[in-house]
């Protein structure tokens, strides 16, 4: 059994073999609780299941590797959400660059499968494109607020921002989306 050093609330605790298994169990519990959060953050950015799963895996692996550095365990979800966000945005940027290079003239993103195209509504596709065009700081609060119905306080804690900032950014994000998609409302496609 390996030996891990875990920092708890600012103090250093040396763990013997038995408590190391406790730590493994603790991370296992967090893995079960938070893997969905990591996946959904990635999904909100990437809109693609396979890519989101890859990012979620990478996120959880990084979290495991750096778990001992996390002094405040109660911030694990926020910490994980930010890792997932950063990895997802990096992946999204790389994918966007590649797609622009390879299929500049394509009507729909090539990462979507035939099944996904068939099941997605036109509005959803437009919405996701509009989300992709949002500034990152607006997109982050929009996605975090959408996940599991987080309220402003929870989004603020996850994003590490003041609540007032979250509120104004969330408002701005929704407003920009509404302006981008207003033409859909005018065409009464949402009636």
């Amino acid at each position: 059994m390996q030996e891990l050093a875990i920092c708890c609330t600012g103090s250093v605790v040396k763990l013997d073999a038995e408590s190391t298994s406790d730590i493994d169990r603790e991370f296992e519990q967090r893995l079960a609780d938070c893997s969905t959060l990591a996946f959904r953050v990635a999904m909100g950015v990437l809109h693609n299941r396979e890519d989101a799963e890859d990012v979620a895996q990478e996120t959880l692996l990084r979290a495991y590797k750096n778990f001992y550095r996390l002094r405040e365990r109660e911030r694990f979800r926020a910490w994980l959400a930010r890792i997932a966000w950063r990895l997802a945005v990096d992946r999204w940027r790389a994918t966007a660059r590649r797609e622009r290079r390879e299929v500049a003239a394509a009507e729909t993103p090539p990462s979507l499968t035939v099944e996904e195209l068939a099941t997605r509504s036109e509005f959803q596709q437009h919405l996701e494109r509009a989300m992709d065009e949002l500034p990152e700081k607006l997109r982050l609060v929009l996605i975090l607020a959408a996940i599991e119905g987080h309220n402003l306080r929870e989004v603020a804690r996850l994003a590490g921002l003041p609540q007032g900032t979250v509120k104004s950014r969330l408002h701005l994000a929704r407003k920009q989306l509404a302006e981008k998609l207003k033409w859909l409302a005018r065409d009464t496609k949402l009636a």
């Binding site: 390996q2 030996e3 891990l4 050093a5 920092c7 250093v12 040396k14 296992e28 893995l31 079960a32 893997s35 969905t36 996946f39 959904r40 953050v41 999904m43 909100g44 809109h47 299941r49 989101a52 799963e53 979620a56 895996q57 959880l60 692996l61 495991y64 590797k65 778990f67 001992y68 550095r69 509005f123 959803q124 919405l127 996701e128 989300m131 929009l142 996605i143 959408a146 996940i147 119905g149 408002h171 929704r174 407003k175 989306l177 509404a178 302006e179 998609l181 207003k182 859909l184 409302a185 005018r186 009464t188 949402l190 009636a191």
Partner: protein
Amino acid sequence: MACERYKVSLADAALGELEPAPEAELRAHLENCAACRAAFDAERRLVAAIDWGVAASVAAEPSPELAARVRQRIEAVRVPARPWFAGSWIGRWVPAAAGALVVLALVTMWLARREPARPGTPESAKNVPSQHHSQSGARVPDESVTPRVRPVGSAAGSRRPHIVRKVVLKAAEAEVLVPPGQREAILQLYEAVRSRRADAASLLAKRGSLEPVALKIAPLEVAALDLDSKPLEAASDH
């Protein structure tokens, strides 16, 4: 004209971000304006669709294999055992402290090489004239050993010419340098004076006055040169 005034607040109201007073005013206007009411309804549907769509985009569940795959990858890159101070301030300062200690050790070694030998150290013992203790305990330099005082700048002594100069002897261990062959005689004299078998004062009196006596040097007598003799070169040939 009145509708233009409410155009901006329609969007904010649809987003639920309008302040209570302007919202009440807008509601009152919507009661009497069918066009604005239709626009507001469309705006509200749009916002609702956006909220629903954003939530739907993140509502997907990960596949059941996700956790298993993560565990598999964790097993492959399991964190190696870390020292207890890893991640703490101690862990961050240990490398710096180790580096400082190494530098300190090097500086100390360098200074030690430059520092003169002190009495009592093996190095100083090598450079002090060897001594032996007489039966009475008096320390007299061994006459068979030449003191290792080397002239400054000599090839052999250029490395540490100051070593012997810095040796400090205690007053109780005063040494006497004696001419070769007179060591035993001096020792016997010393013992006699010390045991009062001989009177030092009378010995000194026998020696006479210590006042310096002017040397009497007879003038040199130089024979007159014979200038008529053979030249030196010719003489040296023979």
